[in-house]
């Protein structure tokens, strides 16, 4: 059998394989680039960008929880201009697609960033409508179908690259929200962002995180993510990029079977810097072993109980 096809299309952009690093866990690629060959990745979703530089929240910004972590970084980033100047030249050295994750407080913020990034070598936009750690905007848009629809539509009108709408799981009905993205013209949906949580130090009675609450990620959220990918797959036609606690091939397969066309791996990098590399190799071997010629055949192959 020939090598199976691992490539996937997001809009008109072809990713060499469906494994992408999740925004916020991988910086701009430099640090993990010392451990893995960044050329191997399907894409790199960079640290969430804002129009102006942000200092983020006060530390502590992380707390370990059973099979997961809470974080409250609060979108610390150098701003979109510094990203273009300092990071894009580094990232363009590699074959993996550059996914600019952008977050705004207003619709205007998103539009300004898209305009600025339109004429750069960024390949895709990931529109962050789901950061739980900043006070204004962002999550507010992502919490209603109408909000998601409006932001998506406004961005789609001017974006010269395909747009991925990143959804929050902190909503009542994820399928309605996902439809908002599709109707607004999104090229893909990525989910799930983190789930809002809290951890308390019982000695001091204070939350560990200085921000009090934070976003939960890691293997503990995977069943929720799988359920949401499954639900969204049934309601939209655009590709889904699934994420939430992926640590190995088995976890990745679950997402594809549930309905994902591609996956993102985030938190587990902290434990295993080579996790993406391993999943890509294992995924290809899995397709070969199971006589599957194209990764697409896995997407949504779930067999539900009657």
């Amino acid at each position: 059998m020939n090598n199976p096809n691992l490539s996937v299309m997001i809009g008109d952009v072809k990713l060499n394989n469906p494994v992408i690093t999740a925004s916020g866990t991988f910086g701009f690629g430099r640090e993990y680039g010392q451990y893995i060959d960044l050329n191997q990745l399907g894409g790199i979703a960079v640290k969430g960008l804002t129009l102006l530089p942000r200092d983020g929240n006060k530390a502590p910004r992380i707390a370990e929880t059973p099979s997961g972590i809470l974080n409250s970084v609060g979108l610390e980033n150098p701003g979109v201009e510094a990203f273009i100047k300092n990071e894009i030249p580094f990232l363009t050295q590699y074959d993996s697609k550059i996914i600019a994750n952008i977050a705004g407080s207003t619709v205007d913020d998103y539009l300004k960033m898209v305009e600025i990034l339109n004429n750069t070598e960024v390949d895709l936009f990931e529109i962050n409508l789901s950061c739980p750690n900043v006070r204004e905007g962002c999550l507010a848009f992502g919490s209603s179908k109408d909000g998601v629809y409006k932001v998506t539509k406004a961005i789609k009108k001017i974006a010269k690259k395909p747009i991925i709408i990143k959804l929050t799981p902190n909503v009542n009905d994820i399928t309605t929200i996902a439809l908002g993205a599709q109707e607004g013209g999104a090229d893909a949906i990525s989910l799930i962002n983190t789930i809002t949580g809290m951890k308390i130090d019982t000695k001091t009675k204070r939350p560990i995180l200085h921000n009090n609450t934070g976003g939960l990620s890691g293997p503990c959220i995977r069943p929720i993510a799988i359920r949401m990918v499954h639900q969204v797959y049934q309601s939209v036609d655009i590709p889904i990029i699934g994420m939430g606690g992926i640590t190995n091939l088995e976890d990745a397969l679950e997402f594809f079977i549930a309905g994902a066309s591609a996956i993102m791996i985030g938190t587990y990098h902290f434990m295993d810097p080579y996790v993406c590399e391993k999943v890509i190799i294992d995924l290809e071997q899995y397709l070969v072993d199971n006589n599957i010629s194209d990764i697409k055949q896995l997407t949504g192959s779930i067999i539900l109980h009657e």
Partner: protein
């Protein structure tokens, strides 16, 4: 580039809480500088999703030593490993202590387990007149004194309960014996570090301080271990853990 696993060649129980591991990994041992740390995977299961950052105590040939205190689930799991087993350790990480060739008279101030990263510094910073100040809660928590004395450093010990030598804080012991040091190296609880920094600033002495903050990736990618500096937000794992005392705002961290 894959990092090689580290082999446990010896496990030494120091007291009820502290365990010393002698690990074999020529890459880490040859690259590590004083004040750097390693990030240790404590178990194979994914119940614990973070590695544990632990400072490097010393290096010798292809070996390096670390000491960890059994405080939580991660270090409890780490204590289950036996001699001969391999540990997944990333490192050496971060920026450590530095010494100029013109620094001839130096001092170290360590509080409790904060003395660990200072041990490698006093071992490596040779041809100096070194004073080593270290504070413990009580005699039963005292450790590593003989090893430090072997370097030729003058060792000053304080205990909170007066069970050994000076009865009181290590910062007070330091003030009593302060000299015109070229550089002072600090590591301990935040409150102690702040007092030391205040003293050094008052006497106009240069210093470096090793900070602690809850970490994620350990290599500067996830940005969780933020600290405020005169140069803006920095990250303890990559820009530190050692900072120039002129650059950091410890008070802001204390004010929580």
């Amino acid at each position: 580039m894959r990092h090689e696993l580290s082999t446990i060649v010896n496990i030494i129980k120091i007291n009820d809480f502290n365990v010393r591991l002698v690990l074999q990994n020529s890459d880490i041992a040859s690259k590590a500088t004083p004040g750097q740390f390693v990030n240790v995977r404590c178990c194979d299961s994914n119940e614990l999703i973070l590695r544990r950052p632990i400072s490097i105590l010393k290096t010798h040939g292809e070996f390096y030593d670390i000491i960890y205190k059994i405080v939580g689930e991660g270090t409890k799991r780490l204590s289950k490993f036996s001699i001969g087993e391999k540990l997944d350790v990333m490192g050496p990480l971060g920026k450590g202590f530095t010494k100029e060739s013109t620094d001839k008279k130096i001092a170290f101030i360590g509080g409790g387990i904060g003395l660990f990263p200072l041990v490698n510094a006093v071992l490596e910073f040779k041809n100096c007149e070194s004073d080593f100040f270290v504070g413990f809660k009580s005699k039963k928590e005292m450790m590593l004194i003989d090893e430090i004395k072997k370097t030729g450093a003058n060792v000053y010990i304080s205990t909170d309960d007066g069970s050994v030598d000076y009865h009181g804080f290590v910062t007070d012991l330091f003030i009593k014996n302060i000299k015109n040091y070229d550089k002072v190296y600090i590591c301990g609880p935040l409150l102690m570090e702040q007092s030391c920094v205040d003293i050094l600033r008052k006497y106009n002495i240069n210093g470096q301080v090793s900070l602690e903050q809850r970490m994620g990736c350990g290599i500067g990618a996830c940005l969780v271990c933020a600290c405020e500096t005169v140069h803006g937000i920095k990250h303890v794992c990559k820009d530190g853990p050692v900072f120039n005392i002129k650059d950091v705002f410890l008070k802001e961290q204390l004010d929580e």
